[in-house]
Symmetry: C2
């Protein structure tokens, strides 16, 4: 059996290694048009930022390892430029010489990845305008931004010696993963950074109010954020610096521009081979990663897969799913029965020492598929016991099915423990857990690591409280003309007050029930929702129509007052 | 309905708050013999160590909150000294005045906690010998260890000013949670610390080889550890310092002694009331937390519960399960249907910035219940992508059922990300997951937080490889006379070599198969097991009887060479 694998990064390299382990005697050829196989593309922004110092750190395995350890005929600088699915041959072009040869296969695996989206904006090819997709891309950016750096300025970072120089400007076009990671890393490199995003929010997979929170957070760290505006053109000044002109008329100076408008599946070969392309533009595969040609498999960023929470087809350009798909393709090629269970879109991004992460469905995606059998809650638990130093609040939004309590999705932002909780919730979604299961979870607790009621338990308790009718919830964007009852202590009102809300501290509530209306919906507010819950229970049992304003004052920032 | 709750710390306080939320009109009395309710006993060692600076930080809620927010008749300094289950009354003693009054109940909840085990060792009541169970205990220890501290010496910690003084000695008796937390905190307080443990290992719930790892780790941080030895007596010297004499004849000087020999359920009241006591000595309850008297419930450290992984009855003195039980008792008292699903013993302890954690069954507990339908693997994944700064290896042991792949238990030790992975695995056990589910888990991945193959995925892949027959495993303690094949590079042998092992680097293996025996079991060694896996696959498919030595050289330290 001869297998040719096109692409040698996450999907291709994993597939080659797995296939060799399953079949010692297969002939395996892996071709990669770039100079490196199995490099860490997720690390590129951090290499630009200097967090990952050496380019060599990004090279996880190399050609020699694939040849020596895995007996894989690994060829870098070798591009697949054509496929003949009838003759079962691939045309391979040697990038250096340009020579093209045909190589036959029994099975072909396409792992070509995705390409950066680079729309035909005037000036996009000017020097100083970069994408970030490959090791050479990162190298060029580093060289460009270090260009003007004098020896003394370069020393700053090491010696603490302060040189006086005007702050340089960077513009990042696109507020997705790579855009925001680049923004953070360019701040590390001492740039004044502006992010421009065409959509109304950053990080499109998040719901809008969490996109707002990310924006606030970036601005708190000195990044300028422009949403709802796109780039009209790039132009070069006499001093070689750039100007980014936006559709709305902004003119932003830039010493460097990063275009990070996302990626599109690389489907050139697949199209040549006449393979079916899916509704989202990725190569169509079944759950065994087989394309419409039974001898051709495809994995990684180039394929589209099913989101098993929403049922939507989706494009997921992430290394985790690529690796899983690659293992499954190898299993199937080796004659085993293996199936890809789909994706749930679990993602995380570091933001100045904090993190934003999510998994499963968002409200946005539920609305897109017409599913309204869900409720949401907002909570702000501490990352570990509040009395142990270093605890940080985690902003969490949890979505769950109203009819059966099934966990549907979660989003979280915070400076500590976000990865852990979204990971837990991702696993819970995978395993079909309900919010009632989360109430009962027995996670690691000692004061430095969690709380006796972990944020995951707490999320379950709040959500289950809603479903059991113990805690009806309302939201700041619920609308309507409800009576607002603020049960905080008077001293807390000094921080922020809600116009129109009536204050009765929780401790006085039972003796002042006669001040509340019996013919109006009452929404109860406190700092985070906990006292409001106790108050709501009291009001409900005394015959009032009450609900907890989910997340209390802490949620208020999610919907900026117009 | 009148409910009396005896005990106001984790279980009692949670039960009172929950019960009020469910029933606005119940009469709720909560009595606590100590001066504080709802205090953070998990934080006591850290308060002694000065990590949690102020005693007030340990007081989570107070009497006023219970009265004001929850309308609970909360009485501190009030001890329940008798129960008449027929008359349904409790005798309450005012600790200050000694006056005893009878109070009637409809429902009684016992949440008395557990008491420190203090065996009648000669000298155990000498000044300077302490237990750590209450806020006053912690205060006494602080006062004792700060006693001899001069102003200048006290300044050390803040000013960096170095005073010359002989190191003081602390002896910690007992190598469980509290013992090791106290050891760490006494090191923070600049003591020379010795831990004495009667059993052959530290942290009894861990398997012996992981107990060894904890011992190594503590010794690396300067703690002296003595296992397999107990205290014979404590005696006082002329200068008021202590000497701890051990059974084996050791004489250890001590300026302070902490006795941390575990706790036993507080069953005095339960026994008075004639309630059934379980096989492990805790109050017997059903899965609704009801004792043998239908009007009396019990929760927390005082009860015994079912370990739902092994089926054993167990005593779990942890705040998480206490809180869950308290909620369930409150639900049932309020007329709801709620059931405690049992415990899985998830635990974590911080050790000098690292952590040891576990969940589910250990090999020890499986052997205890006569279950041999399991296999184990050892692995050492990085806490996050190796190329991103700060990644630390996590030592993991994973137990799973051979017949169906069900995850049974896990233990882990490391300096980063241990809580996250054991939490994930705990949730997986709760939800009945198999190791195949772990292979497919879609957790949070970005270079600072994980790897494209997270440690959890990796654990699943290794375990599933064993079950699929792709990767037979052997262990350093497997015994027998196997041929040892070391596939590391020659340069790695310089670090440590295995006597009798034959070295053939992986890259040369396929061309040197004729050097290997076809009539003997071959165990393949590399650094961590990854190359050994590839080699084993190659050997198996070439007709050899090969297995991976699980965890490779990194596992070797688990069983110290005699």
């Amino acid at each position: 059996m001869k297998v040719i694998i096109v692409g040698g990064v996450a999907g291709g390299a994993s597939c080659a290694a797995r296939l060799r382990r399953l079949d010692e005697h297969a002939e395996i050829v892996m071709v990669e048009r770039g100079p490196y196989v199995s490099f860490a593309n997720c690390g590129l922004p951090y290499h630009v930022g200097g967090v990952i110092e050496h380019e060599s750190d990004l090279l996880v395995a190399n050609e020699q390892v694939f040849r020596g350890h895995f007996a894989v005929d690994c060829r870098t600088g070798c591009e697949a430029v054509g496929v003949d699915p009838v003759a079962k041959t691939v045309q391979l072009r040697d990038v250096a010489s340009g020579a093209v040869t045909a190589e036959s296969y029994d099975t072909l695996v396409l792992a070509p990845g995705a390409a950066s989206v680079r729309p035909p904006i005037p000036g996009i090819d000017l020097p100083g305008v970069f994408s970030v997709r490959t090791v050479p891309d990162a190298r060029e950016i580093r060289e460009w931004i270090e260009r003007g750096t004098s020896f003394l300025a370069g020393m700053d970072r090491y010696s603490g010696f302060q040189t006086v120089r005007p702050k340089r400007h960077a513009v990042v076009v696109g507020g997705g993963f790579i855009g925001l990671e680049m923004a953070e890393n360019l701040v590390h490199r001492d740039f004044d950074v502006t992010v421009i995003e065409l959509a109304d929010q950053l990080l499109a997979p998040l719901d809008a109010e969490y996109g707002n929170l990310v924006k606030d957070f970036l601005e708190m760290h000195g990044v300028h954020v422009v949403v709802g505006d796109g780039v009209a053109s790039f132009s070069q000044q006499d001093d070689e610096s750039l100007v980014v002109s936006t559709r709305s008329g902004r003119e932003l100076p830039a010493d460097v521009v990063i275009v990070a408008l996302g990626v599109r599946p690389e489907t050139t070969l697949a199209t040549m081979a006449g393979l079916e392309i899916g509704e989202r533009g990725g190569i169509k595969v079944d759950d065994q990663m087989r394309t419409s040609d039974p001898s051709i498999f495809a994995v990684g960023d180039a394929v589209e897969v099913r989101d098993f929470v929403t049922g939507e087809q989706s494009l997921i350009a992430l290394a985790g799913p690529a690796n899983r798909q690659a293992r499954i393709a190898a299993d199937v090629i080796a004659g085993r029965d293996a199936h890809f269970r789909g994706t749930q879109g679990t993602s995380i991004i570091q933001l100045f020492g904090a993190a934003a992460a999510w998994t499963g469905a968002s409200e946005k995606s539920l609305r897109r598929v017409g599913d309204d059998d869900y409720e949401r809650v907002y909570l702000y638990p501490n990352s570990h016991a509040g009395y142990y130093p270093g605890a940080k609040p985690i902003a969490m939004k949890v979505l769950f099915r109203t009819s059966d309590g099934r966990l549907l999705g979660a989003q979280a932002i915070g400076e500590d423990g976000v990865d852990k909780r979204i990971g837990d919730l991702a696993l819970a979604i995978q395993l079909g857990a309900t919010v009632y299961d989360l109430e009962e979870a027995e996670l690691c607790y000692a004061p430095p690591f969690g709380s006796a009621k972990d944020p995951v338990n707490f999320a379950g308790m709040v959500a289950a409280g809603v479903l059991r009718g113990d805690m009806p919830v309302s939201h700041w964007d619920s609308g309507g003309d409800a009576f607002l009852l603020d049960v905080r202590e008077p001293v807390e009102l000094a921080v922020e007050q809600v116009p129109g809300a009536v204050n009765i501290p929780l401790g006085q509530l039972r003796s002042r029930l006669d001040e509340l209306p019996r013919d109006r919906e009452i929404r109860v507010i406190c700092r985070s929702g906990q006292r409001a819950y106790t108050a709501t229970r009291c009001l409900q049992q005394n015959g009032f129509d009450a609900s907890v304003l989910s997340g209390g004052m802490l949620s208020r920032v999610l919907w900026p007052t117009p």
